[in-house]
C-alpha cells in the first residue's frame, strides 16, 4: 500500500517537473524562463536583465543622495556583488544623455592578502587580474594595501562636518541645473565666461584621471609600496586577536579607515559599497549579536552618515545573492575570487559564519527569510544626534566613529556587567581609572603642555603602553570594546589609533581641569567648526 502511494507521488512530481521546464516568463509571457527569483517568479533572460538594471537606477533615484557631477568612489573587492556594482555603473554611464547616470566614479580595491596569509605572488596575480578589469572600465582606480594602514594619519578618526552647501540646494534643482548646463554648452572645450563650481569639479576629476591612470600603468613594474616589516606587523596584529569574530571586525574597521582616507585625499564625497541583500541580512543579525544594536540603521541602511563629509551608500542592498550570481554568469561580468579570513572555516568558527549558515539554511526552506529581514532593516532610521554643545569629538567611538553608547549611568545593565567583570577579576572598580590617571600625570607635567606632549613621544609612550588597555576602553563603544578585549596586547595596534586615543584623553582631562572656568555655552555656540 505504501508503495502504491509513493508511485503516485513520484508520478506527480515528474509531471510538475515537466511543466516547469516549459514555463514562460511571467513578465513578457513569451520567452522561456531561465531563472526563478524570490518565491516563484520565473523570468526570461531579457526581462531579468531589464529588471536588474531598473532596480539599480530606481535605488539611486529613490534615495536622491547622489548629486550630478559628484565624485563617487566604488569599493570593489573583486567579489560578485561589487563586480556587479561596477558593471551597473559602467552600463549606466554608457546610456544616452537623458538617462545617463550623472556622477563621476573612481574605483578602490583594498588588498588584504597580508591578513589572509597569501604570498606576494598570489597577491600580485590577483592584483593584475583586477587591474585589467579596472582598466577596461576606464575609471581611475586606486589599489591600496592593508599594510598602508600603518601610514594613516590620526585625522582619519575625526568626523568632519559635511559640505553644508549641498544640503541647501535641493536634489531636483541640482539635476535641472545640470541638465541645462549640459544641453547649453558642449562638455569638452568651449567655456563660457563664468565657469560654475560643478564644471570646475568635472575638470579637476578629469585631471586626476590622467594623472592616475598613468601611474596605474606602471604599478606592476614598481615594487609594492609596503615593506615586509609592515606585512609582518599586520600579521602580528591579527594574530594577537584571539577569536575569528574579533579578527574579522578589526579587519573590517581597518579596511573602512583605508577607504575613508583614500576618499578624503582624492576628493571623493561618496563611497559605494557592494553589500547585497543576503549579506546585509547576515550583517544585521551578526551586529545584534556583537552588541552593535544601537547602530543597526547606520550599518545596514542605504546611507551611512557617520563620517560627516563622506557618505557610504549601498545601492546593491536589494539584490539577493542569487540574482547577482545569475546576472554575473549570464552577462559575463568578470569577477575575481579572493580568499577571505573565513574561507573554509567550520561553521562555528565565528559569529559571522554561524549567522550566515543559519540564514542560508533557513532561506532554503523559507524563501522569504532574507527579504523579511531586509524589510525590517528598511524600517530602521538613523536617529538625529543629540546636539552637544562642546566636546563633540570625545563622544564618538575611537574605532567605528559611532556615537558612544556606554554612558556610565548608575542603573544600566551595562554598568552591572562592568561591576561583575571587575569583581570576577578580584579588583575594586575604583582603582582602574586611578591607575590610568596617575600614569598620565607623570608625562603631562602639570597640565600646560597638553597638545605638545606628543613631542616627547618616546618618553610618554614607553610609560603609557602598559596601562593603556583600560584607558582605550573608555573611548570605545561596546562592541569595539569587545574587540580590544579579545586582543592579547594592544602594542600592535597601528600608531594612528593610539595617538588619537592619547589626544582625546588629554583633551578630556584638560576640559575637566578648566571646567569651572568655562562659561555656560549658549545654544548657537555649539556649532563647532572643524575644517
Amino acid at each position: 500500500m505504501c508503495q502504491v502511494d509513493e508511485d503516485d507521488h513520484h508520478a506527480q512530481l515528474e509531471t510538475k517537473a515537466v511543466l516547469s521546464v516549459s514555463q514562460k516568463c511571467m513578465k513578457c509571457k513569451e520567452g522561456s524562463a531561465v531563472l526563478i527569483i524570490r518565491v516563484g517568479d520565473a523570468f526570461c533572460g531579457n526581462c531579468f536583465r531589464e529588471y536588474f538594471v531598473h532596480k539599480f537606477r530606481a535605488m539611486l533615484g529613490k534615495n536622491r543622495l547622489i548629486f550630478p557631477g559628484e565624485k563617487v568612489l566604488l569599493s570593489v573587492s573583486g567579489g560578485p556583488a561589487s563586480s556587479a556594482l561596477l558593471s551597473q555603473v559602467q552600463e549606466g554611464l554608457r546610456r544616452e544623455t537623458s538617462k545617463k547616470l550623472r556622477f563621476v566614479p573612481g574605483i578602490i580595491y583594498v588588498d588584504e592578502g597580508a591578513a589572509c596569509g597569501q604570498s606576494l605572488e598570489e597577491r600580485g596575480e590577483v592584483k593584475s587580474q583586477l587591474e585589467s578589469i579596472f582598466r577596461a572600465s576606464g575609471f581611475p582606480f586606486y589599489i591600496v594595501h592593508l599594510e598602508e594602514v600603518f601610514n594613516l594619519p590620526s585625522s582619519v578618526l575625526l568626523c568632519a562636518s559635511s559640505a553644508s552647501d549641498r544640503r541647501n540646494e535641493s536634489y531636483k534643482e541640482a539635476v535641472d541645473g545640470f541638465i541645462q548646463r549640459a544641453s547649453s554648452g558642449t562638455q569638452s572645450e568651449t567655456r563660457q565666461g563664468s565657469i560654475s563650481y560643478k564644471e570646475v569639479q568635472t575638470l579637476l576629476s578629469e585631471l586626476s584621471t590622467q594623472e592616475w591612470s598613468g601611474e596605474g600603468g606602471t604599478v606592476t613594474n614598481r615594487s609594492p609600496p609596503f615593506t615586509p616589516e609592515q606585512t609582518e606587523a599586520v600579521r602580528t596584529l591579527l594574530a594577537s586577536v584571539k577569536t575569528l569574530t574579533a579578527r574579522e571586525e578589526l579587519l573590517k574597521t581597518l579596511r573602512q579607515h583605508l577607504i575613508l582616507h583614500t576618499a578624503r585625499v582624492r576628493g571623493y564625497s561618496k563611497v559605494m559599497m557592494g553589500d547585497s541583500c543576503s549579506r546585509l541580512a547576515v550583517k544585521l543579525l551578526t551586529n545584534i549579536s556583537l552588541g552593535r544594536g544601537a547602530f543597526l540603521a547606520m550599518d545596514t541602511g542605504f546611507s551611512d552618515p557617520r563620517y560627516g563629509d563622506i557618505a557610504i551608500v549601498r545601492p546593491m542592498r536589494e539584490y539577493s545573492s542569487k540574482e547577482i550570481a545569475f546576472y554575473n554568469r549570464m552577462f559575463r561580468v568578470p569577477s575575481v575570487f579572493t580568499s577571505a579570513l573565513d574561507t573554509k572555516e567550520p561553521e562555528k568558527a565565528s559569529i559571522h559564519r554561524l549567522t550566515e549558515s543559519f540564514i542560508s539554511k533557513l532561506q532554503a526552506d523559507f524563501p522569504s527569510t532574507v527579504s523579511t529581514i531586509y524589510r525590517t532593516s528598511e524600517k530602521l532610521n538613523t536617529a538625529c544626534p543629540r546636539p552637544i554643545a562642546d566636546g563633540e569629538l570625545t563622544e564618538k567611538c575611537l574605532l567605528c566613529l559611532c556615537a558612544l553608547d556606554t554612558g556610565a549611568e548608575e542603573a544600566t545593565a551595562f554598568r552591572a556587567t562592568l561591576i561583575s567583570e571587575n569583581l570576577s577579576r578580584n579588583r575594586m572598580p575604583d582603582t582602574i581609572p586611578a591607575l590610568g590617571v596617575a600614569k598620565q600625570q607623570c608625562c603631562a607635567s602639570g597640565g600646560e603642555q597638553k597638545e605638545s606632549c606628543g613631542d616627547r613621544v618616546d618618553g610618554c609612550h614607553s610609560v603609557d603602553r602598559t596601562s593603556f588597555t583600560p584607558e582605550l576602553q573608555t573611548l570605545l563603544c561596546y562592541s569595539c570594546r569587545l574587540i580590544i578585549k579579545d586582543m592579547t596586547s594592544v602594542n600592535s595596534i597601528p600608531q594612528y589609533i593610539l595617538s588619537e586615543a592619547e589626544r582625546r584623553k588629554r583633551r578630556a582631562q584638560m576640559k575637566e581641569e578648566i571646567q569651572d572656568f568655562l562659561l555656560n555655552p549658549e545654544n548657537d555656540a555649539g556649532e563647532v567648526t572643524v575644517s
Binding site: 580568499s339 577571505a340 573554509k344
Partner: protein, 124 residues
Amino acid sequence: MTSCEETEEEPRFCEEAPGYRAKMAAPIDLHLEFGGGAELLFGGVKDHHVKLPSQSEPWNVKQLLAWIKTNLLRERPELFIQGDTVRPGILVLINDADWELMGELDYMLEDQDNVVFISTLHGG
C-alpha cells in the same frame, strides 16, 4: 527461456525484453563548472570535463552529486553537499537555466549537458 535462466544475477533485465539496450545508458559526457569559491574544494580547477560511466538507469542530478562527492571533491565535503542535495547557498545551473525550473534533483542528465555550481556564500 534459457537466456533468462542464464542471466540469473540480473533478474530485472531479460534479453528478450524490448528496449533492453536503450535502458542501459551510454556513458555521458558532462561539462562541470565551479565558481564563486566552490572551485577551492576541487583543487582550484574551475572547469571539469567528466565522463559518467554507463549504468542501468539514466543519470539524474542526485546521482551526479553522489558521484562528484566520491570522485571529484578533494576536501571538506560538508561545504559542498548537505545530505542528498547541495549545501544551501550553492546555486546550480543546468544549461544556463536555474535547476529549480528543471526539477532540481530529479532532472535526467543528457549527453553534453553543462552543469554549473556557483557558491553565493562569498559575497562581494
